[in-house]
Symmetry: C3
Subunit: 278 residues, 3 copies
């Protein structure tokens, strides 16, 4: 990665304040909106099929998150995705719970097949389920066997690169160690905090933030995703360092948004632990 | 405005604890409920057509917020609104994203035409779109050209009064400077904080709070809306003053609710910057 | 109750990290998810009829909360509930707003009739409406006449035991004093804070937490519910003790989650005020 690539990616988000259209679950949607505002973007949520084409048209990119999907919102995802694809807007797909139900696995697969998806962001179990390589799942959590660690990092990166080659999307697999890959290159990102797994929505927020980074950095999606993933991880570290006394996951959630809000390009460049793998 | 009109308006909310029925978007609905509780009211959310008439009947007022509208919830808005209209309950309309999509502009317009709307609360772009005077929009944000400032305040107030005269509703247009008007009078409110635009939901919360103020102050809707708008703005100022160190928009959101919770009539009367315009 | 029964109940939740499927309202769903994570469980939300059977199958228990119910989610509740019943998974029913609308009262009653409900958790007005004994309601709040106090505690406990006997469910009625009962025994729980009524979601969070406790403590549902109710109440007390200066209901919400997160079995055993009634 070129020097200052991460810094530039974040600076571009803050300088351009991209409008991001999100069709996402109702569990973490408020945090998603506040995370986009924290990072300097502007969120719009719309999932009604009769509304989404207009909204997609005025936005710069689209997040499709299948948590709490329903028949109507699935139609909205396809309609919004087709419009975004026509307009050449980046689409980030978050296959929440793929592998946990037939509907989720199939919907995520169909979205990937029919739309011009730019980025796939999930945990290893979800991305494996999407790739057809695994049926095991623990709901919306990663299966212990799938967790990325130093021992299986090379294999995980090879899987991510192969899936990126097959789909044409950048693949971002997040966990204790994150993997961000396209067909040619893979990065390991070692930022983050275990407390991010003790709140709901860290992954959902990241997917929306990825969309903002993709919109603001056309032609540099891989590096932009490394910046988004490292940035969210760094915010998690800052939030963890702020924990004290009676604090728990309620405070951590607030601190995480605060840290995203205060993250600047220089701090990201200095704090990011991004390693290019073979 | 009479002395103590603002104080009395808030005291009436806290003394009567109005039940407020809200059909609102799923992005900020939790903050809306907590904002109503903070100001001393009691929230109920219900959008299913088969449920809303009963709920509207036991409440004192209705908030209709069209963010994340869908076909079912639109039906619910009309059914609830017709019942509330029959009962003479105040209805506050928040045309979130009017101008950003045909569905939103049309739905907001239809609600305004068919229901006895007491208050319209939005940003200038949304209210202009509702009034048919502008097609420009920046999603759910105000267009830069529409932002109210000292230079265009008189024109904005004239627009608000004319739209109030046409619709019979009090018009509350919020931004850097807020305008609250009926057909005869217009107020400028200069409370608030730029940080309110860095969280999602400040406008949605205000619309719900407006409903509580309208219910608790029958026959004094204009002054009650000035009190609600100034109160929310003053809460924003208190929240901003509390920011320090690592705080960001996560903390600001919490502080805003806290400030609403602690706002009392005397502090509102003392801190409100409400100016009657020509 | 045996010594250490409460401690053991919580320790079992933290040791087993149960997966909990929740069909719940969109107002407080984020707090419900974070409350489950705080207590050591893992939440999944899914309400689409075509999705819920798969999700119910991989989880250990199911929460059915009828706030913001709609026709689709009601179908989802029955489909999920039938699958959970087949699998012998505990189902916790939260009849939010029963008595406030025909749809809510009827839906809660039908769920109770047709599913193997393990626990009913609501305020006294809601539980009375569900039992057919009262039509009075104040929306989602308890009616003043229904509030449990020392004077009517014995009568409330008798009602709870009778309703438990009729339904086969443990009945948890929460308020200033909480009642937890099965057909044979009733407990009064005197933990809690009045501030829990100044945020939205304290009851909804508790219902989800009850499901986690029921899953983790098979064959000991009554004591597990006493532990869940006392635990949430104790968390409320800890949160209240942390309030200072400018804090309001925004901070209290955060503190409540934090306190749940930090609650351990020994603290629960020491702080719980659980009294067995006649």
């Amino acid at each position: 990665m070129e020097p200052f690539a991460l810094q530039r990616a974040l600076d571009n988000v803050r300088a351009t304040a991209p409008l991001v259209h999100n069709i996402t679950n109702y569990v973490t949607v408020n945090d998603c909106a506040n995370a986009l505002l924290a990072i300097g973007a502007s969120p719009i949520m719309s999932d009604e099929p009769a509304d989404v084409e207009d909204i997609a048209s005025i936005c710069g990119g689209l997040t499709l998150n299948i948590g709490t999907l329903n028949e109507r919102s699935i139609q909205g995802m396809f309609a919004a995705g087709e419009r975004a694809s026509e307009l050449g807007h980046p689409i980030v797909l978050d296959p929440v719970g793929a592998g946990a139900s037939v509907l989720r696995t199939r919907t995520a697969g169909d979205l990937l097949d029919k739309l011009a998806v730019s980025v796939i962001r999930g945990n290893m179990s979800e991305v494996k389920a999407l790739a057809g390589g695994s049926a095991a799942t623990r709901g919306v959590d990663v299966c212990p066997d799938d967790a990325v660690c130093e021992d299986n990092l090379a294999a995980g990166a090879a899987f991510a690169r192969a899936f990126a080659a097959k789909t044409g999307a950048v693949v971002a697999i997040t966990g204790a160690i994150d993997i961000v890959a396209d067909a040619e290159r893979a990065y390991a990102v070692r930022n983050g905090s275990p407390l991010m797994g003790r709140i709901t929505g860290a992954g959902c927020m990241l997917s929306c933030v990825c969309t903002a980074f993709a919109v603001a950095n056309p032609g540099a999606t891989l590096d932009a995703m490394a910046a988004a993933v490292a940035g969210m991880g760094l915010a998690g570290q800052v939030a963890q360092n702020r924990m004290s006394g009676y604090d728990g996951n309620g405070s951590f959630r607030t601190y995480l948004l605060d840290a995203l809000y205060n993250l600047d390009g220089a701090a990201l460049e200095a704090g990011a632990k991004v390693e290019q793998l073979a």
